[in-house]
């Protein structure tokens, strides 16, 4: 089993740091395991407790990803940590990233039955990488997964997926697929261990994971492009069809209404505002 995690800036106050121009100062801001990746790691941990799965974790980016890998290891008691680090990987779009991660996951020992990823990242990633890795691996991709169970005899997985579509009520879809699969975990994912024995196992692994993660470096394997054996034309900037061409401010939309401006410190104005609100609500408007 593999978990793909992503390192993200820690957005909490006190940890975050800004450059004078207002942009994020990535060097000073602490990095952490992204919340979506954390949920993915938790979901993988479920398989470890329930089915005795062996877990490997994979992450891209520079040396700072170590923290994320350690946190991921604490969360899911991974046995192998993969880090893909090479200047050639830099600047990749989702297609280029997917190629690297595919190569890495294929390099993992043993057969991967389930690959987990987060839903998307909170600092701008788009949720495309997961399905693209899956396609390159030839695994069915199941997104928005809120719970899952594996049938070890039949070698199948059953998942529940939460689909939200514009103008439609949300749908929970139950899907069955043969292993191996790639699943992306929805933020609302939840699992529970319902028996004493599962809970004891879970507590045991968690404790051990925490201890083991102190020496996470023993399990860390770092790969560059050569070690991964990837085609240089398919990774990094060269393997990325898309580029960011420009960043600009979104211009103000055209005024569609003409607002009456009231002063919040004037009681008369407050009275008026409330009266207008009540009027709006009582109006006999048929919509």
């Amino acid at each position: 089993m593999a978990v793909v995690v992503k390192l993200e800036p820690d957005f909490s106050e006190g940890s975050i740091s800004y450059n004078p121009d207002g942009t994020l100062n990535r060097n000073e801001t602490k990095s952490t395991l992204g919340p979506h990746s954390r949920i993915a790691a938790q979901a993988a941990f479920y398989a470890k407790v329930k089915y005795g799965a062996r877990i490997s974790v994979a992450s891209m980016s520079g040396h700072v990803a170590n923290t994320a890998l350690q946190q991921a290891m604490q969360t899911c008691d991974a046995e192998v940590l993969h880090l893909y680090n090479d200047v050639l990987f830099a600047g990749a779009d989702t297609l280029g990233t997917a190629e690297t991660l595919k190569a890495g996951i294929s390099k993992m020992e043993g057969k991967m039955d389930i690959v987990f990823s987060g839903h998307r990242a909170s600092d701008g990633e788009t949720g495309q990488t997961g399905p693209q890795i899956a396609w390159k691996l030839g695994f069915p991709f199941l997104g928005h997964v809120i719970s899952y169970d594996v049938n070890l005899e039949k070698r199948t997985i059953t998942v529940k997926r939460l689909l939200s579509l514009q103008g439609m009520p949300d749908v929970i879809e139950e899907v069955e697929a043969p292993l191996p699969v790639f699943i992306a975990i929805d933020p609302s994912y939840k699992h529970s261990f319902d028996t004493v024995s599962e809970r004891l196992t879970s507590e045991k692994y968690q404790r051990e994971a925490y201890e083991r993660a102190k020496n996470y470096k023993d399990r860390l394997q770092v790969f560059n492009s050569e070690k991964l054996g990837v085609n240089r034309g398919l990774i990094g900037l060269a393997g990325s069809p898309t580029i960011v061409y420009d960043v600009q401010r979104v211009p103000k939309g055209k005024a569609t209404r003409h607002a009456e401006v009231l002063d919040g410190s004037n009681p008369e104005h407050i009275r008026k505002a409330v009266a207008r609100m009540r009027e709006a609500l009582s109006a006999m408007v048929t919509k």
Binding site: F11, S12, L95, S122, G124, T126, G127, Q128, P131, Q132, W135, K136, P140, F141, G143, L165, Q166, G167, M168, P169, D170, V171, I172, E174, V175, R232, L237, A238, S240, P241, T242, I243, V244, Y245, D246, Q248, R249, V250, K252, G253, K254, A255, T256, R257, A259, V261, L262, D263, G264, S265, P267, R271, A273, V274, M277, A280, L281, A283, V285, K287
Partner: protein, 395 residues
């Protein structure tokens, strides 16, 4: 004339249980506008091609033509009744590279045709994944969550793409992606590798997924004429290995539809998130209003107790292009600056009141009453006044 291997704009339509999703019509509308202009400018005859998969969907092809498609490629098959990623990806990729279909779309371009020039998908639970896998299969680039599109000839200098030399890229699709605050636009281009001694590559189609609500559909014209291509897919048994066992509709706890009033809050809560949300809660209770939020709030960047954040800071409450579109009789926006992505979600409200300390914030142009002030100061005043006026009525 140079050869053109990549032609037309393919739009991947989404339908659920026989109902076409609104975002599909919106994409067709934008495709139509872009291509009317495109064909005029480049004196070409390229087509807007809608791809639809489903079962018993015969009627829908005409509807898609009425909404702007020149050609509809329809796959009517029991195995594609519900959306499943693998089989959908395979069939859409087949259609996108099929010369026979290309000859039915526009015979004069068919002999050279390799792949679509552009492709649109919806940026939703279905399209976001489908676009990703289709574009791996077609080996090209994808921009996601787009809300503005421009086609033009562009001179670009790029370290890798052009080996640092300026190159003119014709008919380039500029894809604009808003960041999560809604105030910054990133323009993404999908470009071939040119002038590069090492890796010369074509990247087509130029594809994107489009945010629901970002574009307007055209008014449907039932008399529009178009070509309908019924495509019989080649189905490999192993691509059907994912089985849908059940689908269950869940009712949302958030009810924007039946309430007469909706109260929204945004980043203005930042100085005291917990306290301010409680104020909004009380205010909404007095108006019997549902509570909505702007997109950034759903990202959990503001600290609040778990009960507050799990009740209010959730995607189901987001009003805007990446959330719900509302049209209550009264909408009150507290501490919302009015990013266009939010405005799209609330602009159909009958009467809009905004409370914001900054008179220059864009929300001012989208409301009927603008109260200048901080929400923590204004809400208690409004509440007190509201109670008083309600008492008067009761007496």
């Amino acid at each position: 004339m140079t050869q053109e291997y990549y032609r037309h704009l393919y739009v991947v339509i989404e339908q659920i249980d026989g109902k076409i999703l609104p975002v599909s019509f919106e994409m067709l509308g934008e495709a139509r506008r872009l291509f009317d202009d495109f064909n005029a400018r480049y004196s070409s005859n390229e087509k807007v091609v809608a791809i639809i998969l489903g079962h018993n969907i015969k009627e829908m092809s005409k509807e898609l033509i009425a909404y702007g498609a020149d050609v509809v490629v329809s796959v009517d098959h029991p195995e594609v009744k519900d959306i499943r990623n693998i089989i959908y990806t395979k069939i859409i990729s087949q259609i996108s590279t099929d010369k026979e279909i290309a000859s039915k779309i526009e015979p004069s371009y068919a002999s050279e045709f390799k792949k679509p020039r552009y492709m649109f998908f919806a940026a939703d639970s279905i399209g976001r994944h489908l676009s990703s896998t289709v574009l791996v299969e077609l080996d090209s680039g994808l921009a996601s969550d787009i809300n503005k599109l421009v086609i033009r000839d562009l001179e670009v200098t790029h370290q890798i793409k052009t080996a640092g030399k300026p190159v003119n890229f014709k008919k380039t699709l500029e894809m604009y992606r808003p960041d999560f605050s809604g105030f910054l636009w990133t323009t993404i281009l999908c470009l071939d590798n040119r002038n590069n001694p090492v890796i010369e590559r074509d990247y087509s189609p130029q594809a994107c997924s489009i945010i629901a609500g970002a574009f307007k559909p055209i008014s449907p014209d039932p008399k529009r004429i178009g070509v309908i291509v019924d495509y019989v897919p080649k189905i490999d048994e192993k691509d059907l290995r994912v089985k849908i066992l059940s689908r269950k509709v869940i009712e949302s706890e958030v009810d924007f539809e039946s309430r007469r009033a909706v109260v929204g809050f945004g980043r203005g809560i930042k100085d005291a998130p917990e306290k301010n949300i409680k104020l909004v809660e009380e205010f909404a209770k007095h108006l019997d209003a549902e509570i909505g939020i702007s997109l950034p709030i759903s990202k959990n960047v503001y600290p609040a107790s778990p009960s507050i954040s799990s009740t209010y800071m959730i995607p189901a409450r987001v009003i805007g292009t990446s959330g719900r579109k509302i049209s209550p009789m009264l909408y009150v926006a507290f501490g919302i600056s009015g990013a266009s992505q939010h405005v799209t979600g609330m602009e159909d409200s009958e009467f809009v009141v905004a409370v914001n300390p900054d008179e220059n914030s864009p929300i001012k142009d989208q409301c009927d009453i603008f109260i200048k002030g901080r929400m923590e100061d204004i809400i208690p005043l409004l509440l007190e006044e509201l109670k008083q006026q309600q008492q008067v009525v009761q007496a």
